[in-house]
């Protein structure tokens, strides 16, 4: 099937536009962050309810976490934050359109090379973030999440850019659609807890010694909230990741003659999976909750990124055609 160059060009153009809009959103998130003096009161109220007995009235109207409540004195910060979210939504819409255009232009699932894979993964990460912002009061952390997104999008659009084209025979399979979609979905989801776990470590360091991260520390949500956010998102993504690896094995059985062969890509996916299993275990192990768990979670996401870049670009394996 011939490629529709015009549509593909529009797609690339929108990709750049989306990245640019994310950069503007980052600036606004940073503005909100800068105007936030310390953890918001609603969070401290919630922390109290968690530990102590509350009067009935307080139990009943505990602020819903994440409801954006007007708070006096935070007007400017709040306005910046709302605009940042609005821009993020706009960026995500441009981003989605760009992915769809790629798909229409090539007449296949738009994740057949690293440029497309990265684009789709970053889109999932942004959408994950937008969903979490509605549920948790973490909006002002947006810049931290968008920073890796923008960097990876920049790399994808320059060093890894691939012109729209059909994929080779080994990739023409509905397993491409399923396996890679699961990989994209889980990697995009993992990005957020990866970032949040690092912030958790910062916050814990600061709590133990206020002189450390004196500027950033107090502006982060309380450690508990960060931990919870990271855990919840990870347990959502982990089964999808597991499913994705299994689909990969099924596809490998059909395409390469064996379901598992310790190809570098498979190996690192396995390693990342085991480290994530370690993260889940650490939360059930005395002495391993908290800081250690957060370190493990960050390492696990590091493995996912390592698998995407280092293994695809540096190491020669069967997966190398994914370039």
């Amino acid at each position: 099937m011939p490629v529709n160059e015009t549509l593909a060009n529009y797609g690339d153009w929108l990709y750049g536009a989306a990245a640019l809009v994310y950069v503007f959103a980052m600036v606004l998130y940073t503005t909100e962050q800068a105007f936030t003096r310390k953890a918001k009161r609603s969070e401290q109220a919630e922390a109290k309810v968690l530990v102590g007995a509350g009067a009935p009235a307080e139990v009943a109207d505990t602020p819903k976490i994440g409801r954006l409540e007007e708070q006096p004195g935070r007007g400017r910060a709040d306005r910046a934050g709302r605009m940042a979210v609005a821009l993020t939504v706009l960026g995500a819409l441009l981003h989605l359109t760009s992915i769809v255009l790629r798909g229409v232009a090539t007449g296949r699932a738009p994740w057949g090379n690293m440029y497309e894979y990265g684009a789709a993964t970053m889109f999932v990460a942004v959408v994950t973030w937008l969903v979490l912002v509605r549920k948790f009061d973490v909006r002002r952390l947006g810049a931290f999440v968008l920073t890796p997104v923008v960097i990876l999008m920049f790399l994808g659009g320059t060093a890894l850019y691939t012109a729209a084209a059909p994929v080779q025979p080994a990739l023409q399979s509905y397993w491409l659609v399923i396996h890679v979609a699961a990989a994209i979905l889980s990697s995009g989801l993992f990005l957020v807890p990866g970032v949040v776990s690092v912030l958790y470590l910062v916050r814990v360091k600061h709590d133990a010694n206020p002189a450390k991260f004196a500027r950033l520390g107090p502006r982060l949500p309380v450690a508990d909230a960060l931990d919870r956010l990271a855990y919840r998102t990870t347990i959502f993504a982990f089964p999808i990741y597991t499913f994705g690896i299994i689909c990969g094995a099924i596809w490998a059985e059909a395409a390469w003659g064996r379901f598992w062969g310790w190809d570098p890509k498979e190996t690192v996916a396995f390693v990342a999976w085991v480290v994530y299993a370690g993260y889940l275990h650490s939360r059930a192990t005395a002495g391993w909750r908290g800081t250690r768990a957060a370190v493990i979670n960050s390492v696990a996401f590091g493995m996912v990124v390592f698998n995407l870049f280092f293994i695809n670009l540096v190491i020669a394996g069967l997966h190398s055609y994914a370039k």
């Binding site: 009935p56 059909p166 025979p169 023409q172 089964p239 085991v274 059930a284 002495g287």
Partner: protein, 521 residues
Amino acid sequence: MSETTTRPRRFLAFARNTWRGLTSMRTALILLFLLALAAMPGALLPQRSLNLPRALDYIDSHGWWGRFLDRLQFFDVYASVWFSAIYLLLFISLVGCLLPRTVEYAKAIKAQPVLTPRNLTRLPHSGEAESDATPDEVVAGARRHLKGWRVLEREEEDGVRTVSAERGYLREAGNLVFHFAMLGLIVALAVGKMLNYEGQVIVVADGSEFCNSGTLGYDSFKPGLRVDGTDLAPFCVRVNGFDASYLPNGQAEQFTAQVDYQAGTDLDDDHWQPYRLQVNDPLRIVGDRVYLLGHGYAPTFTVTFPDGQRRTQTIQWRTVDALTLLSEGATKFDPPGVTDSEERRKRQIAVTGLFAPTALIEDKVLTSSHPQLTDPAVAVDVMRGDLGIDSGRGQSIFEIDQSLVDSGRLTRVARENLKPGGAITLDDGTKVTFDGVQQWVSLQVSHDPTQLWVLVSAVLMVLGLGVSLTIKRRRVWVRATPAGDGRTVVRVGGLARTDQAGYGEEFNRLAALLLDPRRDS
């Protein structure tokens, strides 16, 4: 106490401590990280099993360091002693932690929710309110709001009523399913390692056949630990033709081999079934799978000897450039009817050189500009003399033995570029003709009887994991204490049995309902 009684006891204590240590969660965690760490070198260093030449090259070019790593099995990571040891310890640890957990779970399913603690405010989550409902109404309301929970009512003195409720029992079931399925997967993998085999063979796509009758039929064969190659599943495959389509830039679009196959009774009555063998679409017969792995060209040459006898051969040449399918090889001929081996070794002929499917000739140098067969040509050297075929030493079918050339026993007698139909006549009247070209396909035959069990285990793992991670284990208690004049003090308390993260909001929502018994959800 005498020595004889304490020693066994000490040994028992040691064994028990070792077992406890090995099956503890902390050990499992550490073993998991060791497994992850041990798997990494396999991704970073070339592995023998995946790419033997690269592994050997790496060892060679790194001197003592390469040899040292090799001694430590860093080029066979997944078969190494240390990797297997971690794997085995994890397996034991897994069994050791699953057995008691299963017993405990079996007990827990039947257990009643635990008694309401005396002081609910000491729990991680709690709340209190006064209501004008009676304790009975409070209990009835709790029952209504705790649908799907396992609920137990009790009466305490002074008309106090309590409700204990618990839910999320399935979580542990899901978790056990996940871990047991993982155990099953590990066992299935190990059995598979014993019984599997994998063989590769090149078949020219001109109606040639391949039969899975023994390991000798293969160009390379990798048996499992318990496979000696004597009873392979019997079937035959005949390759009738091969098609490849390409984009203008030479990128391949689709490969298809037209094959016929026979297995079972078809073998006896020589009946063939057709199949279109494609990448991603193996032929599955009698427990084996046949894959189309690669393809290339096999030029046909005819040698007409001075006495008029002719020999024609179509031998696969190997691809040197994957993008343009420029190929190289050596097609070797024995002079017919020469019985004296001394004489024969002076007159053997090899046609070696390059083949291009779409020829591009510049300054008489042949290259290929496209993988499609549009304008084939060969650039060949004709060698005459001793090919070394009779020497007993194995030699590559793609090359001539260079040492024989160096020692002058094999000499070049012609060099020419030929198109199909073109011929070279040698000084003794021998004529070498380039007749045309066939395609070859490389097939892989794989056998792994436990594959399905691996798949079943894997699917159960995902399902168990899904259940275990979505279902939450929660406890909640309600105590209704009469406060006189028809009013009741309602106290609620809650405890998250797993993942403390986030019972807060959920509890608050539930508590609001329980504290206000007249409300409908």
